[in-house]
């Protein structure tokens, strides 16, 4: 499998490209950042990779060859599309980190399975130092696989495993597209990143089609769910997006069962995307609650400003907030970063984040990454 991946990668890098501006489709067309297309084959092949380094003032560090992914997609017929993404994560990982173990019990022999006990107040914590060095290893996983049928602009159906269409960050969560290497908790901790099931979406046929909607349903176990942040077999959600010229506002709601804690969770979110000339402001606010007795709530938001200082160079400033009632954890963070895109498929990022965490204390984090679409 490792040889296959390397062969595919070398083929991409070495392949010559024919001019894309002719009046007929060339026999072989490779465009950097847009993949390879053969005239006689309906699908396009492409992908991306990323490498990241992070360090904190607690002497934690991480060097990670994060992703290597291959995409295969295209129009099978006039109305039918296919999409497949195979991804290998953490191909090489070396890290040292300090983890906080919550609800640490010195007398572990007394442990029993009483569910109620899980939700008692947490009083004891301990710090554990973890060091990991993993050999270079490729374990491909199915990140996405779906078939799409376009009935009309107002009604499109997607079946398979797809990205959960909530908010701004999650739909573009891969390193070459993200603005920063460090993710905001509002976009990563509240709902499953992927959904396996059915998605119905489209443009609503009124007000100049300035409304978009997405409804999604999962009623099965997820396809290759090892890397999903939340494992669920039951997930429903809805998102409505309204465009006011170039400004968009999104409202979302959803409900799922978190299999790791065997609890139903609901969330509600709102996000804004405001582009104005060289400036872009984006923000997401999300509120989640656990259902049932001893229910807890969590809330989080981020506000991020992106300014194109000069061509291909972007300054990013972000404010994050996260509050978890369950363990009284409260995080406030400020991030300042720089994103350089020398060519449109390449992203080089450098950033500092100052974090005030009620559980882990104050933290200064530095992160840098390189990511490329090919």
């Amino acid at each position: 499998m490792r040889k296959l991946f390397l062969t595919v990668l070398i083929v991409f890098i070495c392949f010559f490209s024919l001019p894309a501006y002719s009046n007929e489709e060339p026999l072989i067309n490779y465009e950097f950042g847009r993949g390879l297309k053969l005239k006689w084959f309906p699908l396009r092949v492409g992908g991306y990779l990323s490498v990241k380094y992070r360090w904190t003032n607690k002497d934690e560090f991480e060097f990670n060859f994060e992703n290597l992914a291959v995409l295969l997609y295209g129009d099978i017929s006039k109305r039918t599309r296919f999409f497949f993404e195979l991804e290998a994560r953490d191909l090489y990982l070396k890290k040292r980190e300090i983890e906080i173990e919550e609800d640490y019990d010195e007398d572990e022999d007394d442990d029993d399975d009483d569910e109620e006990e899980e939700y008692e107040e947490y009083e004891k914590y301990r710090e554990i130092e973890i060091e990991i060095e993993r050999e270079f290893e490729i374990k491909p996983e199915v990140e996405r696989i779906y078939l799409e049928y376009l009935i009309s602009d107002a009604l499109r159906l997607r079946v398979g495993k797809f990205i959960t269409p909530i908010g701004i960050w999650n739909p573009i969560h891969i390193p070459p597209l993200k603005w920063t290497s460090i993710d905001p908790p509002a976009a990563t901790d509240f709902f499953p990143r992927f959904t396996t099931g059915l998605k119905i979406y489209g443009l609503l046929p009124f007000q100049s089609e300035s409304w978009e909607y997405s409804i999604f349903i999962q009623r099965t176990k997820g396809i290759d769910d090892r890397n999903n942040n939340v494992r669920t077999d039951n997930f429903y959600g809805l998102e409505i997006k309204k465009f006011f010229s170039d400004i968009s506002v999104e409202f979302s709601i959803g409900k799922f069962k978190d299999l790791s804690i065997n609890r139903d969770i609901q969330f509600t979110g709102i996000s804004f995307d405001v582009p104005y000339r060289r400036f872009r402001m984006m923000s997401e606010f999300i509120y989640g609650t656990e259902k049932g007795s001893n229910a807890y709530s969590r809330k989080s938001y981020y506000i991020q400003g992106i300014y194109r200082v000069f061509s291909k160079n972007y300054l990013i400033v972000r404010n994050d907030y996260f509050d978890n009632q369950k363990n009284n954890r409260n995080i406030k963070a400020i991030l300042v970063g720089w994103n350089y895109r020398p060519l449109y498929p390449i992203s080089l990022k450098v950033e500092f984040q100052w974090k005030k965490d009620s559980l882990e204390g104050d933290l200064l984090e530095f992160a840098t990454s390189f990511a490329v679409l090919f």
């Binding site: 739909p171 891969i174 061509s311 449109y344």
Partner: protein
């Protein structure tokens, strides 16, 4: 003094009218409408809208260095080439390719006249009777306006 001011205003208006340019949105005759809005053109070129009254549309673009494409990006899509590149990065990740790129405005007219559902943009001088005009967008200085045929 008043006469000078009137003369100045007259020449300013005349100059701006004489510099006005048009982008013409053309379509294959299979497209079952005679007019579309600027917003619809934008949605079609950003591959957010795929149909016009049930007919699948095929948008065609000029290459990135063509001056008309730069005007089209600016006045119709309200984006520059860098913003568009970032947008198409996201769409590529979601399995959607940008519109087909053709080498010249003549090639656009030829393609649009032959391919069912095709839609393109050209300068008025390239329009012929093999295609239908859906929209004329007048570019006048920094502002643009829709106008029906």
């Amino acid at each position: 003094m008043m006469r000078k001011l009137i003369t100045f205003i007259f020449f300013t208006i005349w100059f701006s009218i004489s510099k006005a340019e048009e982008i013409v949105i053309i379509a294959n005759k299979s497209i079952p409408v005679n007019h579309i809005s600027k917003r619809e053109v934008k949605l079609i070129y950003l591959k957010k809208k795929f149909f016009i009254k049930g007919t699948k549309v095929v948008p065609v673009n000029l290459h990135p260095f063509n001056p008309l494409r730069k005007k089209f990006n600016r006045y119709i899509l309200n984006m520059d080439e860098e913003q568009l590149s970032l947008y198409w990065n996201e769409m590529y990740f979601n399995g959607i390719d940008p519109p087909i790129v053709l080498s010249s405005q003549r090639a656009v007219v030829e393609f649009v006249s032959k391919v069912k559902g095709a839609i393109g943009y050209i300068s008025p001088k390239y329009v012929n009777n093999k295609v239908k005009i859906l929209l004329r967008v007048r570019i006048n200085g920094k502002k643009s306006s829709d106008s029906r045929r």
